[in-house]
Each structure stands twice: as C-alpha cells, then as structure tokens.
C-alpha cells in the first residue's frame, strides 16, 4: 500500500510562492545599531539553528530542491509553570494556534489553558521561511510534539534527580510529575524554579501514537475564540501606537509606470508629512481621511509602455514562454515511455485545451502595517505569511542589518497565499522615518485588488489515449504559466509527457491556496471524464480502473458512497466528480448541479467531499477547512476572473468582482477518513482542488455541454 510518508517532496509546488526583494530602495544613512535582547527564563529545548542557506533567504530555489530538514521550534516553561511555545509560523485563520497548542499539550501533559503560543515575531521566535505550502502540520506540529516530549522528559529527569529515583518510575500528567510508589508529586512550576536549563532535542524520542492521543485528535475550539466574537482581537489593521499617524501612498496610473512629474503644492499646504523618494510618493497625516485628501490633491504624470489585456490573454501566454531563458531552471518536464507511439496505437485519442483566468485572493483584511523607528531600529506590526521575509525586505529597503528590524505578525484576517510580501510594511516604515512618528498604512480594497498579486492564469493542453476496455495508455499535458503544482498524474499510465512552460506573466502573480493544483486538477479531472465518455464508461469506474493508489481510491469510494453515486437524476440535474492528491493530502469531491434551462443559471446544489490527511489533529477544524475550501473554490470555479487592460485592473472592487456569498452556498457534506497509522499532514489547500472539475463534469452530465474554461459560468450557461 502506498502511504506517501516521505516528506522530502520536491519543492516544485512552491514555484510561485513569492520571495520578492524590496520594491523600493531608500537612501538612508548608516546609524549605530544595537542588538535586541532575548528574553526567557528557562529554555527547555532548543533545536539546532536553521541552516545558514535558509537564513539568507532571498533567492528562489531551483525546482526539485527539498524543503529544509531543520524545522525550528522551542518552548519555555516558566517558573510559574506556564508554557510558552515559539514558532515563526503565523495564524491566518487556519487555526494552527489551536492545533499546535494541542500538540504541545499532548506530549507535555499540560492543560491547554497553560500554554501560550508566540508566533511570527522575528525577535522572539525561531526563523521560519513562511506559513505556506500546508507545511505547518507535517513539520511544525510534529516538531512541537518532539520538543514537548523532550521538555517532559527533562522535567521527569529533574524530579527523578530530586527524589533520587529511576525516571522510568515517574508519571507526567496535568502539569505535574508524580511518583506513584511513594505518592508524592511536584508540579512543573516547582521543578523549573531557579533553573536555567537548555536542553537540545534528542535524536530519537518516542512520541505518543495517534491512536493514544488524548488532546490532539480532539475538536478543541479555537483558542482565544472569545476575543474574536467580542471584537477585542487586534488584527494588524487594528494596531495603534501613541502619536501614530495614518499613511497613504500615491499609486501610479498603470502597472510598471514611471513618475515623470508631480505637483504637490496643495498637499504640502494641508499640514501633512510628505515623502517623495524616486517613484515613491506618500503622506502621513493625523487621520486616514486627511491623508487621503492630501493624496487626492496631488497632480501626477506617469509614463508606461503599452501592456497586454485579458482579451488577448491566452494568445499572449502561448507566445511569451520563457523556456531556455529562465535562469531559475523552473521549466519542468516529465517523460515516461513512448508517448507518440502509444497515441498512434490508442483506440481513442481525445485532445482538449483548458484555461484558467487570473483571480484575486480578496483577503477580507487588506494589507496593513504599523511602523515605528527608535533611532535606526525598526519595529513593524504587519499582516504577512512571511514575517522573516518581510524583515529581509525592510532591511534591504532601508539599508540596515536584519537584526535592526523586528517584524511582528498579529493573527491576521486571512491570506490564502496572497500575503507573502511586505508592501505596507515598507510604505509605513518609509513614512514613519520621515514623520519621526509611528505610521499606519492600511490598503483600501481597490489597492489590494490592483497592487497585490494574483493567482496565475494559464492554458493547459491535454491529450489522452485510451483503449476500448478503458485503460489509459498515453497522457500528454502542457501547462503554460499557471504552475506545476499538481501537474503529475496519479493515474497509472505507462506513457506520459508532462511539461510546464513558464511564461513572462502580464500581471504580478504569486501563490494562492493550492496554487496551480486547482488548474491542473481541473484539466486532468475534466479530461478523465472526457476519456470515460469516449469509451462509454462510468466516470467513477473509469477512474478506479486506472488508479492504484489506495488512499486516493479510498477517498473516491467514500465520497461516492456518501453522494449516492449512480442514483437517477431529473432534467437539469447533473452529477460530477473530481479529486486528487496534493500537499500530501487526498481529496475526492462530488458535486450536484442544477441548470435552469430557461435562464441558463447554474446552481451548485450539493457538494460531498471525502478527505484524508493522515491522523486527524482536530476533526472540527479539519471539517471547517474542507468546507471553507469548497466554498472559496466556488468563486474560482464559477465566476471569479480579473479583468485587465493596458496596465490597469478593470474590476478591482467588491461591487465589480463577485466572491461567493451565502446565496451561493450548496449543501456541504464532508467525510473525514482518519488514518491514525499515517503522519498528519496539512489541510488548508488540498481540499480545494476537486471542486472545479466536479462542477464542470456535473454541468456536462446535466446538459451535455463541456466547459473547459475557469470560471465556468460567469454569466450563466447560455451566455458563455
């Protein structure tokens, strides 16, 4: 049986995880600097420092590199018995603050309410590349279990030494070490009192198997949930410092524009701090309204070259591949067997082209930052998935060492892969430098739509060869631009040619929840139905005939059973499926659609997903992630698309860009397969990938129309 427990997967899924340098380089004099002082009473466990190469960051790694093996995490047990666990990972709605606390609680045998997670603070937490790629559960959760287990063993050792007994005879439970024989006990606070102990993680330390978990494996509610329902939690955009000003930056007329002239006379008379530094023009004022008014009072001229528009998008993508000139070596090619020969002898050969549009993340909290200077020491609170990456950007922008910069990441209002960069951090810091006061910059929704980055658009050509008995004999797939995450097929096919073609993107593009796996699964799983149709086979039977992977088979079978696959349907009703394997998780999603023959309206009525990601850490949160993936996925599947023309976004407002709402909500059913024998992996991304093909296949099933472009029905079926 295939269990896919090897975590050293190739890094290709992170192709588009943005690691940009600073967009501005400001001319600042060198100043004296001082080092931040580290705090901490007792460090119980410290891992070896992250690899130097990792620390330097910046450069994009070549595809095929494995993820760093050293995952850093540490925890303190204070003299009061309270546990503080430190990680560079951040909380963006995926609820890892809760799941990581569960991991610590489980192995350390300490109640959840005595654990505090310190996350994404570059001064206090270990280096971390960033919170992306569904890496937290397979790496950080495991690491916290190991760290907590080592901490527990250290405490047991302290108690054993004090009592002069064999550590094996002692029991750790509920924050206390007990000697059952002599009926005596010491709580963690008593054991840590006066200690200054540093313990490295041992090579091997057996962990509690998932089958025996007591805290992990439970549906622990969101820690600090009360702060959120009372409005008390302070997101990055809610941060406020004494004397703080509000900043606003002048945006160019188009992308890639150069400022040729500007008249700031009126703005200067409005009592604001004005900064003009190359292409950067911004103000800081006592209110956001005053800052906005000053920007509006400016008259600026910009120049830029003509730029592509999305009406020519797919033509443009085909013509602008960067193969051969791509110094990062991002081109990707997978060849097995003799594809051409297999196609010529196939009973059926089906060829089709699928496309996906650029879409926006639309995190409900836009980018935000508050920056404060103390001499040449910079502190920034900002919403980002990469606090250490943003620290690097700030150091670069202001020509200061990284240890002069502290970035803190308060739990933020979501990201979905869209907040890897530090635009507002840099803008706020630049304005704060000039104003000599703290400055907050919060992007408007329009700024977020235009000046963030997008999920890549793409073209995917697929050819499948199949024999009359339903065996797929050959598969060829070419992806232009959208990315290579999930590009490989998990179906058993002897002859394959799979190629990713990088393209010079007409828009700034980057990561997005599940990255290109959504596009590649849309193409592959749609094409599976096209092949099944060609040989007149049931789509589920056809998939299972060509699929050996037990875990994937299991989710397809479980979702099919829950869905009632094979049941009869009425006119306008259609059933379809899609599924696959991504970020170490397995998903199968079945959809029911209803098509109104008069209006052409397509309604997704019911969505059933079966998901398996190893041992389940928190069932309710996992269910929440699967449901959320399907709801968010509705947008990209049905109607989301960025419209752009000559360097401008045309639909960059929420009134012009449709996102899924209550009225779009299908009936959601989620089947979770708990594999306690398999290490836990992430769940924030994989569940999204089955939905779009399931809907496309269901629409075909309903009305016999094959839609091959995402979004499928931005204007209903008739007008597509």
């Amino acid at each position: 049986m295939s269990t896919k427990t090897n975590f050293e997967i190739p890094l290709e899924p992170e192709r588009y995880e943005l690691r940009e340098g600073a967009p501005y380089r400001f001319d600042l004099g060198r100043r004296d600097f001082f080092k931040f002082l580290g705090a901490g009473v007792v460090v119980v466990s410290v891992l070896r420092p992250a690899m130097v190469a990792q620390e330097s960051g910046g450069g994009r790694r070549r595809s095929g590199d494995s993820l760093p093996k050293e995952i850093n995490a540490w925890l303190h047990i204070g003299e009061d018995g309270r546990v503080t666990a430190y990680t560079g990972k951040v909380e963006i709605g995926q609820n890892i603050r809760t799941s990581l606390s569960q991991a610590v609680s489980e192995e350390l045998h300490v109640p959840l309410d005595r654990i505090e997670m310190v996350m994404g603070d570059t001064q206090l937490t270990p280096f971390d590349m960033g919170t992306f790629g569904s890496r937290t559960t397979p790496t950080m959760n495991l690491q916290f279990r190991r760290v907590a287990a080592a901490a527990r063993d250290t405490l047991v050792g302290l108690a054993a030494a004090q009592w002069k007994v064999d550590p094996q005879s002692l029991v750790a439970s509920n924050g206390t070490i007990t000697d059952p024989k002599l009926k005596r006990s010491l709580d963690y606070a008593a054991l840590t009192k006066g200690q200054r102990l540093t313990q490295e993680l041992p090579e091997e330390d057996p962990l509690i198997p998932a089958a025996d978990w007591k805290v992990a494996g439970n549906s622990t509610p969101k820690v600090e949930g009360r702060e959120f329902v009372t409005g008390k939690h302070r997101y990055p955009s809610d941060q406020k410092l004494p004397g703080m000003l509000y900043g606003k930056v002048l945006r160019p007329a188009t992308f890639d524009a150069t400022l040729t002239s500007i008249d700031t006379k009126k703005a200067e008379q409005m009592g604001v701090t004005l900064v003009r530094d190359g292409n950067f023009v911004g103000v800081a004022a006592t209110s956001s309204q005053a800052a906005e008014a000053a920007i509006e009072a400016m008259r600026a001229e910009w120049k830029s070259e003509p730029q592509p528009s999305n009406k020519d998008l797919f033509d443009y993508l085909r013509k602008n591949t960067t193969e051969g000139e791509d110094v990062t070596g991002d081109g990707d090619r997978h060849d097995v067997g003799s594809v051409d020969q297999a196609f010529s002898s196939a009973d059926h050969k089906v060829q089709a082209t699928y496309t996906v549009q650029y879409i926006a993340h639309v995190p409900l909290e836009p980018r935000a930052a508050v920056a404060k200077w103390d001499g040449d020491q910079l502190t920034v609170w900002t919403g980002t998935q990469r606090p250490f990456g943003v620290r690097g950007q700030l150091a670069e922008a202001f020509h200061i060492p990284e240890d002069h910069v502290r970035v803190l990441m308060p739990d933020m209002g979501s990201g979905y892969g869209g907040k890897h960069t530090g635009e507002t951090a840099i803008e706020a810091a630049r304005l704060a430098r000039a104003a000599k006061r703290p400055v907050k910059v919060v992007w408007t929704r329009e700024e977020e739509f235009s000046w963030a980055y997008f999920r890549p658009a793409g073209i995917i050509d697929v050819i499948g060869g199949v024999s009359n008995n339903g065996t797929i004999t050959a598969w060829e797939m070419h992806n232009y631009n959208s990315g290579s995450a999930g590009i490989r097929t998990y179906y058993e096919i002897p002859n394959q040619r799979i190629v990713f073609h990088p393209v010079k993107s007409p828009l700034r593009q980057g990561s997005y929840r599940a990255l290109a796996a959504t596009a590649n699964h849309f193409a592959r799983e749609s094409h599976m139905d096209e092949l099944a149709h060609a040989v007149k086979m049931d789509p589920l039977e056809f998939r299972l005939k060509n699929l050996k992977d037990e875990r994937l088979r299991a989710v397809f079978q479980a979702a099919g059973k829950q869905f009632g696959w094979g049941k009869s349907k009425i006119a306008g009703q259609g059933f379809g499926m899609g599924g696959g394997y991504e970020k170490l998780g397995n998903i199968a999603t079945f959809a029911e659609v209803s098509v109104d023959s008069k209006s052409g309206d397509v309604k997704v009525v019911r969505v059933v997903s079966a998901f398996e990601c190893g041992a389940i850490v928190n069932p309710d949160n996992l269910r929440n992630q699967v449901e959320g993936s399907n709801v968010q996925g509705l947008g990209g599947a049905l109607f989301e698309a960025i419209q752009f023309e000559n360097g401008k976004i045309l639909n960059g407002r929420l009134s012009q860009y449709r996102v899924p709402r209550f009225s779009d909500l299908p009936k959601l059913e989620t089947v979770l397969l708990d594999r306690k024998d398999i290490p836990s992996v992430g769940a924030g991304e994989c569940p999204m990938i089955g939905l779009a093909p399931a809907i496309a296949n269901a629409i075909f099933d309903a009305v016999g129309v094959r839609l091959r472009a995402l979004p499928l029905v931005p204007n209903g079926l008739k007008k597509t």
């Binding site: 609820n95 509610p221 009360r226 329902v229 409005g231 008390k232 955009s237 209002g413 709402r661 009225s663």
Partner: protein, 163 residues
C-alpha cells in the same frame, strides 16, 4: 470640523470630525473601537456592520454626521460584562469562523436579523446575510450558529440592538 455628539454602546461621546467622515473611521481612529472592520469601503462586505437604532447598517458608508443623537451599537457593546450575547456564544459553539475578520459584522447582522425575525429559516438567513462576506467560507457554520441562537429565547427578546 464640528463637535458631533455620538451615543455608542450606551456611552456618550463628543468627537471633533467632519460630518462627512465615515462612521467606521470615527469608530476606529477616534474612539479606538476597532471591532468594526474595514473590508471594502462600499458597503459590499458587511465587515463594518453596526446597529443604528437596532438596524444593521454598514458603517463604512454611513456619514458620522447622520448618526448624531442616534443609538449606535458595535460589537464591543453586545456582551453584558462577562456574559456573551447569545449570538456571540452561538458563533463560538458552532466554530463559525476561521480568521474571524468577518465575525464582528456577521454577529451584528445576525443580531439585527433575529430582532426582526426571531425564528428565521435557512432561506431567511441567507437572504438577510447575503451582504456579509466570509472569504474563509464558513457560511454553513454561520447559518447553524444563527439558528442555534434563534432557539435561545433571550435572542428573540430585547437583548439585540441598543441596550
């Protein structure tokens, strides 16, 4: 600029502001009531929802000058001391959030809905709440939470809205 008298969460304030300023920016910047969120600035996402005289309104498109003398309730004013409003409690119990950024606005809209319709159907909830966006996609949990709160007798009574 003018002194504008505001009644928020049962407390009186006087703020020096242009009457044309949005209520949301006054709440957040002048009064440091940051529970109401900015999401779109055009009344399309509901993250800034507050109750004005018990009715759900988008504070980002509400001029502060227009609410002078009216009773405004924000998320900060919903709980009674340590006791959560039943809708807040229902959101917690249903795990009806991921990042939680939409939660304030969702709860305020839900309170207004239950005040108007103490026992809403799923369809009623969907219709009333359609202007509130949750990008994390927790809608089905929010529907459950509202239904759960609707069976809590006190939610249907006078607790919603101004106190």
């Amino acid at each position: 600029m003018a002194a504008i008298r505001l009644a928020i969460n049962g407390k009186n304030y006087s703020v020096d502001a242009d009457p044309q300023t949005s209520l949301l920016s006054v709440l957040r910047e002048d009064l440091d009531l940051t529970g109401s969120k900015y999401g779109c600035g055009e009344g399309m996402c509901g993250a800034c929802t507050v109750l004005i005289e018990g009715k759900a309104q988008r504070s980002c498109i509400t001029r502060v000058g227009s609410v002078s003398g009216k009773q405004v309730t924000t998320i900060e004013g919903l709980a009674s001391g340590d006791e959560l409003h039943p809708v807040q409690q229902a959101f917690l119990d249903a795990g009806a959030m991921q990042c939680g950024y939409c939660t304030s606005g969702m709860i305020m809209s839900a309170v207004a809905l239950l005040k108007k319709n103490p026992a809403p159907s799923e369809r009623d909830i969907s219709d009333f709440m359609d202007g509130n966006v949750c990008r994390c996609g927790t809608y089905s949990r929010i529907v459950s939470a509202i239904q759960k709160a609707s069976t809590t007798p006190v939610a249907a009574a006078a607790k919603g809205g101004t106190r």
